[in-house]
């Protein structure tokens, strides 16, 4: 049997079992050979193609900006392919030709291929790029969201007529509306990137960068910090949830409210939360917890994920986060609470999971 190419990614696509064919197992039948070649191509291509789908793919085209960038990508790719073919053709021709024959051509190739053709190509790309940039800049935002990068999470503040609405680690946006993201940082340089929706942009301490996103496809899209920012950089993620405008309006109104009465009725859990000093860093509006250092937890349980997008928000994950914080996210600034009694932990988790 020929050696199997090893899949590059984690998933190994199905490889057909060699059917019994003749006496010699090392000898392949003709049809089988064709299947095998195909499967080899599949094995090689699958890991490459997995990058083209999913919630982190810029080819998902979930936002107008991502689509604009995609339209920029194809001409670039086409141009690059043409150039590559031309250079390869020239290289082959150069190997085949004799020196005397090409003497007259050299000057033309140097001037044409070194100055004129690249000049035309770069000028054309510049025009395409500027037109694209103009299209990106022309998007008129209807919603303004301030996003601050922190080590290692995201502070999200919606600017609404009724005042600022503070949340963290999950950004919800209305479908079809252009949102303006005002990006900054409180410590080191981070970069905001929700690939499915648009380009990435640096978050620089002391200045505000503006990025517009116009989501088109409802759903949950992934985002991440795209600039190394310290130990837990790889665990600095977020979710962008694209909602229908009406549902988004309802959500934003709910997010502006203090913690639900249902959560505040869980007196035991609230006491554990306050007496353990959680309020020194976290805010839960409607209680005396008003800390500004860490993520606002007023509607914590309405988020999909925990610890800045690193784990689905479940009871078990939350317990682990509270008691073994450093294990889940090494370097995180939140200290762990391994010494909470089981009853206190139950009450605390119950309270937090009720913060819808």
């Amino acid at each position: 049997m020929p050696p199997q190419p090893r899949p590059l990614g984690g998933q190994s696509p199905p490889v057909e079992q060699a059917p019994a064919c003749g006496v010699d197992p090392a000898k392949l039948c003709q049809g089988e050979y064709a299947i095998r070649v195909k499967s080899h191509i599949a094995v090689l291509a699958a890991p490459l193609l997995t990058g083209c789908g999913g919630r982190h793919s810029w080819l998902a085209g979930a936002g107008a900006e991502a689509r604009i960038i995609e339209t920029l990508f194809w001409p670039f790719l086409f141009g690059a392919a043409v150039l590559w073919l031309a250079v390869m053709a020239l290289a082959i021709a150069a190997f085949r030709s004799r020196r005397e024959e090409t003497r007259g051509l050299v000057r033309a190739i140097i001037i044409g291929g070194g100055a004129i053709v690249p000049g035309i190509i770069v000028a054309a790309l510049l025009v395409i790029g500027l037109v694209t940039l103009r299209a990106l800049a022309a998007m008129q935002p209807g919603l303004s969201v301030q996003v601050d990068g922190e080590q290692w999470w995201w502070r999200v503040v919606y600017d609404t007529p009724a005042g600022a609405v503070v949340t963290a680690n999950e950004i919800r946006l209305p479908r079809g509306e252009t949102a303006e993201l005002l990006l900054s940082s409180d410590d080191v340089i981070h970069a905001f990137w929700a690939p499915a929706l648009g380009g990435k942009m640096d978050m620089i301490p002391g200045r505000t960068n503006r990025l517009t996103l116009t989501p088109l496809t409802p759903g949950s899209w992934g985002g991440l910090c795209a600039e190394y920012c310290g130990g837990a950089h790889a665990q600095m993620r977020f979710d962008v949830t694209v909602m229908e405008p009406a549902a988004f309006g309802d959500w934003l109104a709910a997010e502006a409210e203090p913690a639900s009465a249902q959560a505040l009725a869980r007196q035991d859990g609230l006491s554990v939360f306050l007496d353990s000093g959680c309020g020194a860093c976290h805010s839960v509006r409607g209680t005396e917890a008003a800390g500004q250092v860490g993520p606002d937890l007023t509607h914590f349980a309405a988020r999909q994920r925990l610890g800045a997008g690193i784990a689905p928000l479940t009871d078990a994950a939350l317990r682990r986060w509270i008691t073994r914080t450093q294990d889940m996210k090494p370097g995180v600034e939140m200290p762990a609470y391994p010494d909470l009694s089981p009853e206190a932990l139950d009450a605390l988790v119950g309270f937090l999971m009720a913060l819808k």
């Binding site: 007496d275 000093g277 020194a280 800390g291």
Partner: protein, 373 residues
């Protein structure tokens, strides 16, 4: 020329053999009962003095260190009675005859000629091959300065002065008797031992030691247990806590916890920080420097901690608050369950903010007077 080289080579080959023979046969008597030869004694003595002087010269005292601060001198005296007097004697107290059998004999400090920095270095690090131990609280670079302050004033102390400093309100062991080895045991009770520094009212003898009155019994017992188990570092507290049985530690914790906290009366100059800024920081924290609020755990004005394992801060002496916050920031971090939380809280503080917090909490209102959340 060649011949000379051959001699040198022979000597070089012989030297290790001679050294090995010396090591094996051990002709130099290391018995403490036999004095050093005079040249060797002078050599060792001189080397020790040089080593101490050079290292002490590189040691900077912390900004809060005042060699004439009475509270610091009392604290140093209190620890001297616990940890040093057994070997070095004390004003009016001869050394135990056992100690006089040591070689080198522990120095009588009346006639010692060390600078404050040298006393600090000696107390912090000790001396190899002499029986002089390093500081019992690992990493507590701040604590031995109290001893340096005390020893800087040692020569001028009468036996009465010393008793007042080291024993304060507690009855000292019988006067003029030789020191006993193995602790400060005298006719006193364990409570008398605590009261030497913390006061019989638990109010800390004007800043000598932290105020214990008004702390919860849980907090005090946990602190004593941590000191006794080497999970919390302090050269002052570890020796005394380790000498107490767990039952006794719990009993003493209850006794001090039951004492009424006094309203803080700022005596003398106000602390250097800005109390108003300290209050703002304590109440709100600082989002940009990652400083959580203090009140979320320690309560509104530091009088009513949120949980029994959290200490009361109101009215503590400013110097103690500075020393603690720097310890929480720079280490050594105790090995206790809540310690990572306090360490995380202190991580972002700078020295000015620590001074502000010390000014606020040392003058914070007494219980009930100004409680706010």
């Amino acid at each position: 020329m060649k011949r000379r080289h051959r001699h040198i080579a022979l000597a070089a080959a012989f030297l290790p053999v001679a050294a090995a023979a010396f090591w094996f046969a051990a002709p130099y008597n290391i018995a403490a009962s036999v004095e050093h030869y005079a040249p060797i004694r002078a050599l060792l003595n001189g080397y020790m003095k040089n080593a101490v002087a050079i290292r002490a010269a590189r040691t900077e005292p912390p900004d809060w260190f005042d060699p004439d601060d009475p509270a610091l001198i009392r604290l140093g005296a209190g620890h001297f009675a616990t940890g040093c007097a057994a070997c070095h004697g004390a004003p009016g107290r001869p050394r135990s005859p056992v100690v006089r059998g040591m070689l080198p004999e522990p120095t009588r400090l009346e006639s010692a000629q060390y600078s404050t920095g040298e006393y600090y270095w000696l107390a912090r690090h000790g001396l190899k091959y002499t029986g002089m131990p390093g500081w019992a609280g690992e990493g507590r670079d701040d604590e031995p300065w109290a001893l340096a302050a005390f020893l800087g004033n040692y020569a001028a102390l009468s036996p009465g002065d010393y008793h007042d400093l080291a024993w304060g309100p507690s009855p000292p062991p019988s006067d003029a008797a030789a020191m006993t080895l193995g602790g400060v045991a005298g006719p006193q009770t364990p409570f008398d031992g605590c009261a030497r520094c913390h006061g019989r009212d638990g109010l800390g003898r004007d800043g000598t030691a932290p105020k214990l009155a008004g702390q919860s019994a849980e907090y005090l017992a946990a602190a004593l247990d941590a000191y006794a188990g080497n999970r919390r570092q302090s050269g002052f507290m570890e020796p005394v806590a380790a000498a107490l049985s767990p039952r006794l530690r719990a009993e003493l914790a209850r006794r001090f916890a039951g004492m009424p906290p006094a309203s803080p009366v700022p005596d003398g100059a106000p602390p250097p920080g800005d109390a108003a800024r300290g209050r703002t920081l304590a109440e709100r924290g600082d989002e940009h420097d990652e400083i959580p609020s203090c009140i979320a755990c320690h309560g509104g004005d530091g009088t009513a901690p949120r949980a029994p394992d959290i200490p009361r801060l109101a009215g503590q002496d400013a110097r103690w608050i500075v020393v603690w916050l720097r310890m929480w920031r720079d280490g050594p971090i105790p090995d206790t369950p809540g310690a990572p939380r306090m360490a995380a809280a202190a991580r972002g503080l700078d020295d000015d903010e620590i001074a502000d917090l010390a000014a606020f909490y040392s003058t914070a209102a007494s219980a009930g007077a100004n409680r706010e959340r």
